[in-house]
C-alpha cells in the first residue's frame, strides 16, 4: 500500500511517499509559506510524480503538526509526537530517545521497544532552544555563514550567553562582535547555550540510549557536539535520509 505523510512545519513542509511501510519512494522539502492548501497540494502532486505513483494508488494521506481541515486531501491527522516516534523507530528500531529540534519548538520523545512512545516533553513559551534562535543569532552577525555550526568546534573560550529572549540575545551577540570576539568563540557560545536548553528539555523524559536527533537543527554539527558533551551520550543523526524528513515518515506510517 502507498501512504503519504505530510509534516507542515512552521518554516518547512515535508512530504514522504512510502510503500508497504518499508520503501521510501518519494520525498520533498519546501518552504511552507502562507497558503498551506496550495503548497501541500503542489508538493503532494510533485512528490507522487517523483515516486512514479498515480494519485489513485494512494491509500492514506496523514498530516501532522497541522489541522486536517487545512489540507483537504488528507484523511487523517496525528499528533506530532506520534509521528516523531514512528519515524525515528523506522530509521532505527533501537532508538529510545528522540529529540526533534525544529524551527520553533523542541520535542523530546521516549520510544519503547515496540516503537510506541511513552513520555514526551515540549519546549514551552520560549524559543531559546529552537532553530529560530540560531537563525536570529546568525542574522545578528549581519551576514550568512554557511558553516556556522562547524565554526563552533574551533572556538576555545567559554562565553556565557545570558539572555534567553532571542531578541535580547541578538544584542549580546552584536556586543560580542563589536568587542572583536573571534567568530569561532561566538559560534561556540551560541551553540553551548542552545545545547544546554535543548538538553534540559530532553532530560525531562530521562535520557536512554540510543539517542537520535531529528529536525532542521540536526544538521548542525556544533550543536550535536555540545549536546553530546552535555548529555554524556552519543547523539545519532539519521544518515540515510535528511533528519528533517523523519517526522513526515512517521506521519506516513500512522494510519
Amino acid at each position: 500500500m502507498i501512504s503519504v505523510g505530510i509534516d507542515v512545519g512552521s518554516k518547512y513542509t515535508k512530504v514522504i511517499v512510502i510503500k508497504d511501510d518499508k520503501e521510501i519512494l518519494g520525498k520533498s522539502i519546501d518552504e511552507t509559506g502562507f497558503d498551506v492548501k496550495a503548497k501541500t497540494t503542489e508538493m503532494f502532486k510533485s512528490t507522487l510524480k517523483q515516486a512514479g505513483i498515480n494519485e489513485k494508488e494512494v491509500g492514506n494521506v496523514t498530516v501532522t503538526a497541522i489541522r486536517k481541515e487545512l489540507v483537504p486531501f488528507a484523511n487523517r491527522e496525528v499528533p506530532k509526537v506520534v509521528a516523531i516516534a514512528k519515524g525515528a523507530y523506522f530509521i532505527s528500531p533501537n532508538v529510545r530517545t528522540v529529540i526533534d529540534a525544529g524551527a520553533e519548538e523542541v520535542v523530546a520523545v521516549k520510544v519503547a521497544e515496540d516503537g510506541k512512545f511513552t513520555d514526551y516533553a515540549v519546549s514551552e513559551k520560549c524559543a531559546a532552544g529552537s532553530g529560530a534562535f540560531i537563525d536570529a543569532m546568525v542574522n545578528a552577525l549581519g551576514e550568512p555563514y554557511e558553516k556556522f555550526g562547524e565554526l563552533a568546534l574551533e572556538g576555545t573560550q567559554d562565553i556565557p550567553i545570558n539572555d534567553q529572549c532571542v531578541i535580547f540575545a541578538e544584542s549580546e551577540v552584536v556586543g560580542l562582535v563589536s568587542s572583536n570576539v573571534p567568530l569561532s568563540n561566538i559560534s561556540r557560545a551560541i551553540h553551548v547555550a542552545l545545547a544546554d536548553r535543548i538538553s534540559s528539555i530532553a532530560k525531562k523524559i530521562g535520557i536512554e540510549e540510543e539517542v537520535m536527533i531529528i529536525g532542521g537543527l540536526a544538521n548542525d554539527v556544533g550543536l550535536i557536539t555540545f549536546m553530546e558533551k552535555n548529555l554524556n551520550v552519543k547523539v545519532n543523526v539519521p544518515s540515510e535520509i535528511k533528519p528533517q524528513l523523519v517526522t513526515a515518515i512517521g506521519a506516513a506510517l500512522s494510519y
Binding site: 512552521s10 518554516k11 511552507t32 502562507f34 497558503d35 498551506v36 497541522i66 487545512l70 520553533e104 513559551k125 524559543a127 532553530g131 529560530a132 540560531i134 537563525d135 546568525v138 549581519g142 550568512p144 555563514y145 554557511e146 556556522f148 555550526g149 539572555d163 529572549c165 532571542v166 531578541i167 535580547f168 541578538e170 544584542s171 552584536v174 562582535v177 563589536s178 532542521g216 537543527l217 544538521n219 548542525d220
Partner: protein, 298 residues
C-alpha cells in the same frame, strides 16, 4: 538552516536620511554642538548651531556601534559644508551604543536625551513621553525643563519594540513602512494575537495567515497586541495627556493611531522627525555642557 540564510531579501530595510538646514550657517555659530544616538536598530546624528538644528542623518545600525557612529556622522559631514569633528565643540553620545562612540565628550542615557529632545521639539508643556526604540519601550515623565522625573521600561521582552515590526515585515513580506497603514484598513474590533512575545506572536501570525485570515486583519491583530503592551507600560506612570511619541515607531500610524485612540489624546505634529528626538536632546545637553564647563574640545 543554511538554506534559510540564502534568502536574504529584507522587507525590514528602510532608506537612510540626511537633511541639512540650508538657512543656517554653522560657521557663524558660537557653539556648535552635536548629539549622536546609536540605538540597537538605528543610529542618528544631529548638529546644532547655537541650539538650532543645522542638520541630521539617520541610518540603520550596522555591525558595531563604533562603525555605525562613524557611518552616520560621515554621511552628514559629506552634505554639510566643510564641517568635520574638529569644528564641533562638544558631542554627547546617547543610546544603547553610547559608550562605544569613540569621539564623544560625554555619554548620557537615551532616557534623559529623549525627554530633553521632546521638550525642545514640542515645547515645555510636554509631560509624558513614549519612546519606542528598537529593543526598548520607555515611558518618561518629565518636568518643564525636560528633566526626567521618573520612567519605566520594558523588561526582558522586546514586544512592541521596533525590532518586533522588522520581524513582522520580513514574515509577511511587506515593506516595514506599509505595515501600519495596512493594519488600519480593517474596520471594527479586532482581537489581538494572544502572545506578545515577538517570536511566538510571529508563529501566531503565521498560523492566522495559513488559516486564510486576510493580511490586513492579521496585521491589525498584531498591532493590537503590541499596542496593548505599550498601554500597559504607559498606565504604570501617572499619565498626563501632554503626551508625545518619539523614536522610530512615532512614524508608524498603525501604532500611533491606536495609542491615541486608547488614551483619548492626539499626539501633536512636529516639523522635526520624532525619530531624532534623542539625538536632538543629546545635542542640547552638549551645548549646555559646553557653556557650563567652558571647555571647547577643539
Amino acid at each position: 538552516m543554511t538554506e534559510v540564510l540564502k534568502e536574504k531579501k529584507s522587507y525590514a530595510d528602510w532608506p537612510g536620511t540626511v537633511w541639512v538646514n540650508e538657512s543656517l550657517d554653522w560657521k557663524e555659530a558660537k557653539i556648535v554642538s552635536a548629539g549622536i544616538d546609536v540605538g540597537s536598530v538605528s543610529s542618528k546624528f544631529v548638529i546644532m548651531s547655537d541650539g538650532e538644528i543645522a542638520g541630521y542623518s539617520a541610518f540603520r545600525t550596522q555591525k558595531s556601534s563604533e562603525y555605525s557612529s562613524q557611518y552616520v556622522t560621515n554621511a552628514l559631514f559629506d552634505k554639510m559644508d566643510h564641517i568635520s569633528l574638529d569644528n564641533i565643540h562638544y558631542i554627547v553620545a546617547t543610546g544603547y551604543g553610547r559608550v562605544q562612540v569613540p569621539f564623544s565628550n560625554k555619554a548620557i542615557t537615551e532616557i534623559a536625551c529623549h525627554a530633553r529632545g521632546a521638550n525642545y521639539i514640542y515645547g515645555p508643556t510636554i509631560r509624558t513621553i513614549l519612546d519606542m526604540g528598537g529593543q526598548d519601550l520607555k515611558i518618561i515623565k518629565c518636568d518643564e525643563r525636560g528633566k526626567v522625573l521618573n520612567f519605566v521600561m520594558n523588561d526582558k521582552c522586546a514586544a512592541g519594540c521596533g525590532r518586533a515590526f522588522e520581524v513582522l515585515a520580513d514574515l509577511v513580506r511587506i515593506p516595514i513602512e506599509e505595515l501600519g497603514p495596512m493594519s488600519l484598513k480593517v474596520e471594527g474590533k479586532v482581537d489581538p494575537v494572544s502572545s506578545t512575545c515577538v517570536l511566538y506572536a510571529k508563529s501566531e501570525v503565521m498560523g492566522l495567515l495559513r488559516e486564510g485570515v486576510p493580511k490586513e486583519r492579521v496585521l491589525a491583530a498584531y498591532f493590537e497586541a503590541m499596542k496593548n503592551r505599550v498601554i500597559e507600560l504607559i498606565k504604570r506612570v501617572d499619565f498626563e495627556p501632554e503626551f508625545v511619541i518619539t523614536g522610530g515607531i512615532a512614524k508608524n500610524p498603525g501604532m500611533v493611531k491606536r495609542i491615541e485612540k486608547e488614551l483619548g489624546v492626539k499626539v501633536p505634529e512636529s516639523k522635526v522627525d520624532p525619530m531624532i528626538a534623542g539625538a536632538v536632546g543629546a545635542a542640547i545637553f552638549a551645548k549646555t555642557l559646553c557653556e557650563k564647563t567652558d571647555k571647547k574640545s577643539s
